[in-house]
Amino acid sequence: MLSRRRFMRFAAAGAGAILVSPHIAFASVETERRFVFVIQRGAADGLHIVVPYADPAYARLRGPIAVDVAGATKLDGTFALHPSLVHTAKLYEAKQALFVHAIASPYRDRSHFDGQNVLESGGSAPYQVKDGWLNRLTQLLPPSRDSAIAFAPTIPAALRGKAEVSSYAASTLPPAPDDLLMRVTQLYDQDAQLRPLWQQAMTARGLANDAGARQDPAGIGKLAGGFLAKPNGPRIAMIETGGWDTHSAQMPRLAAQLKALDTMIASLRENLGPVWNQTTVLVATEFGRTAAVNGTNGTDHGTGTVAMLFGGAVQGGRVIADWPGLGQADLYQARDLKPTASLDAFIAGAASEGLGLDPQRTHAQLFAEANAPKPMTGLVRA
């Protein structure tokens, strides 16, 4: 019986030059920086997360679901942070967290699936661009490395594209015997679709040894942190979160959602250790929600929302907002927070500065189709 380590070597040899062993694959590292994209699927309500408590219309619009700022951290004279975001508040105080409010992608309708497609592809319209901006970002790094890993059983759209990526999610099944794995390696060798996928899987398994992650927020943060902290590990990661589509019972649901997000970020930071100072974490959603509460103590699909940035080198401790106001005449289509900031510009700036890349060039590579204004800069220290 082969040991797993020896099997990895065997599989590498058996598949020829394409499958290189993890150690060699991760050797050619040009940047020590890390970039993590956390997507909030379902349209997270920015007005509930970074609360514009000083806007006179807020309490009136939100009524029973207005966040009580008595228990919240005041970020400045206008905004307060939801009370569930305990660790986030500490990061803000340490100037390692910043928020951009009234932000949106170029998408202006209200379908989750189209909105997520625009956010992840980086186009200006749904399905206009076939690959994801995170994959194109990966292509700006040295090509010889397997440098992106998705913490999900399948590849999310933002990471799909030309650059090879790997996915990993903790399995509760007993592992298949090495003999079977070896035979599968041989069987897939002539299959153009399955061969590269299988090789990625075997490489990720080698990396994940002893990661021991569970699928809870702290576990996901630990797993991601463990991977990213390795000197020869990946540099770019994407984490998918769901449950943000709060058409009803928004108060308790978002309290729990935000607590989970807060826990995950805290655990990520803890497990990155000193590497936190070279890491940038961007959190974004496809669009926001209606400014007013709906008939069922929730909110319906909207437009402008909030995006977040965390990391040891982030120029944090501030909320960036050209605040449009919540008066009836100030709302987008008389119902949503009007977007005054471009999510594409924010992503381009944060990703480029976070990875030490040129902002203009990164912007052109990521959002060529979206006609976004120039990248937002001054977000992350060099």
Partner: protein, 472 residues
């Protein structure tokens, strides 16, 4: 058997059906075999007949709640009343989970044992088109009954009938927040405003939007935010009877009811047409027009073509299916016949990468299972990455390879294959099984790998994870 016929037989079994079984001979007339299934299909087969209806589930929950809360021990003081409420809620959640698991098993056994695997596949297709997700607590116990009551009886009928059954089912109403949507100028809203002026009750447009975007017209087909809002006004009053509250409904809990006092009064204008029907008929008239719309024909034709032909299906095939839908006024048998007659659907290349559900069902069938032998289906599908009735979003699960053909997903399949193979009937010769499951068209590479495996278990596992078996 001539090679063309053998190919067509394999396609009928594996692409249109749910995967070949070793104990069923390949069809001599593949087209005829598919059409004949319309008469063989049972809406309520043995596996499903033991499952509780949504009304029975709601009624039982109401009785248990009543008993627990009227127990003298639980009404002694406010603390014990709160404790009793917590305890009964916990018990009901546990029971809902058990009901869910049993319904998943029923769905799988029905798929293993059916005499009409093509029609059974279409049930799965429509259940995913009209997706509900057990992520939402109240849906957990009734997702199975949703498929049994709203999808299965209508899979060979008119699309509009399925649409109405779906939108009136408690699972869909609860999943998309319909039951508490209130017309802003309805009687109920006005009375509530008198009682407590601070409390705002109003519309929830979730269900109306997803009906237009996902169930009928499709996204970006020309409807506006105003159409969505108007439709959600027309839908107000559509609700589900409950036994809770101060004034329980007269109807049994879990049944669809129209609450006139929640309905927004007045005519509605949607997509340029005015609807002045009274009460429940208003939204029914809208649904009828949505079902008949050309955009709906195109949307449904695209999804069917994607399911049976390719991730990006040829436009001509979509057009022919849409024409059949429109010509027959949404008669689904006519659409399925057009699909069977569609030359592209018989292309010898297997363009579709199986979803985890398709793979698991075809693997169990291929290994000769007719029941689950004490195993449970729900955790199996969760491990494979596609938990049954839990797509998380109302769009349902994707039907394209890039969503499923991923590194970790392949590893899961290999792990499950090993376990299923080890528990399967080892009396099959893996080599002849390979011939049988592909009607003699198995690729030589897989055949060689299977024949060289060191044990029957490894050979069976290799067969069901082979490139040939991953696609249909």
């Amino acid at each position: 058997m001539a090679i063309e016929t053998a190919n067509a037989a394999a396609i009928a079994l594996n692409r249109f059906g749910l995967g070949a079984r070793p104990d069923e001979a390949p069809p001599a007339d593949p087209h005829g075999w598919l059409v004949a299934q319309f008469d063989r299909y049972a809406p309520l087969p043995a596996a499903w007949s033991s499952q509780p209806t949504s009304v029975a589930i709601a009624q039982q929950a109401a009785e248990q709640r009543m008993q627990a809360l009227h127990d003298p021990a639980s009404t002694a003081d406010t603390d014990s009343a709160a404790n009793a409420r917590r305890a009964v809620n916990q018990m009901l959640r546990r029971e809902a989970r058990d009901t869910y698991r049993e319904a998943v098993d029923a769905r799988i056994v029905s798929a293993l044992d059916t005499p009409a695997p093509f029609v059974e596949r279409l049930v799965h297709f429509w259940a995913n088109h009209f997706a509900v997700s057990v992520d939402k607590g109240p849906v957990a116990g009734i997702a199975g009954s949703f498929e049994m009551e709203a999808i299965r009886p209508h899979v060979l009928g008119r699309f509009e009938d399925m649409l109405v059954a779906v939108e009136q089912h408690p699972a869909m109403q609860l999943f998309l927040d319909q039951t508490r949507s209130v017309g802003p100028d309805s009687l109920a809203a006005m009375r509530a405003a008198e009682r407590s002026p601070g409390v705002k009750r109003g519309l929830n447009e979730n269900l109306a939007r997803e009906i237009m975007e996902l169930h009928t017209l499709g996204v970006r087909t020309g409807y506006t935010q105003q159409d969505v809002t108007e439709f959600s006004r027309a839908m107000t009053g559509w609700s589900i009877a409950t036994a809770q509250g101060r004034r329980p409904d007269a109807q049994p809990p879990g049944t669809f009811i129209f609450r006139a006092n929640l309905h927004e009064p007045g005519a509605r204008t949607i997509l340029g047409r005015t609807y002045d029907e009274p009460g429940v008929d208003q939204a029914l008239a809208v649904l009828s027009d949505l079902a008949a719309a050309p955009a709906t024909a195109n949307h449904l034709a695209t999804k069917l073509a994607r399911h049976f032909i390719a991730d990006t299906p040829p436009q001509q095939s979509i057009d022919r299916l849409a024409a059949a839908y429109t010509r027959s006024k949404g008669d689904l048998r006519t659409v399925y016949r057009a699909l069977i007659d569609e030359p592209q659907a018989w292309s010898p290349a297997n363009a579709k990468f199986k979803t985890p559900w398709e793979w698991a069902v075809s693997a169990l069938r291929g290994l000769g299972w007719r029941d689950l032998g004490g195993m449970h289906g729900a955790p199996l599908l969760t491990q494979l990455g596609q938990p049954v009735w839990r797509p998380g979003s109302p769009a349902g699960y994707d039907d394209i390879a890039s969503s499923w053909a991923a590194p970790d997903a392949l590893v899961r399949r290999v792990e499950v294959a090993q376990r299923l193979a080890a528990r399967s009937n080892q009396a099959h010769d893996p080599r002849s099984l390979g011939t049988a499951l592909f009607a003699g068209t198995l690729g030589t590479q897989t055949a060689t790998a299977v024949s060289r495996a060191e044990s029957t278990t490894t050979a069976l596992a290799l067969l069901i994870v082979s490139p040939d078996f991953q696609r249909r």
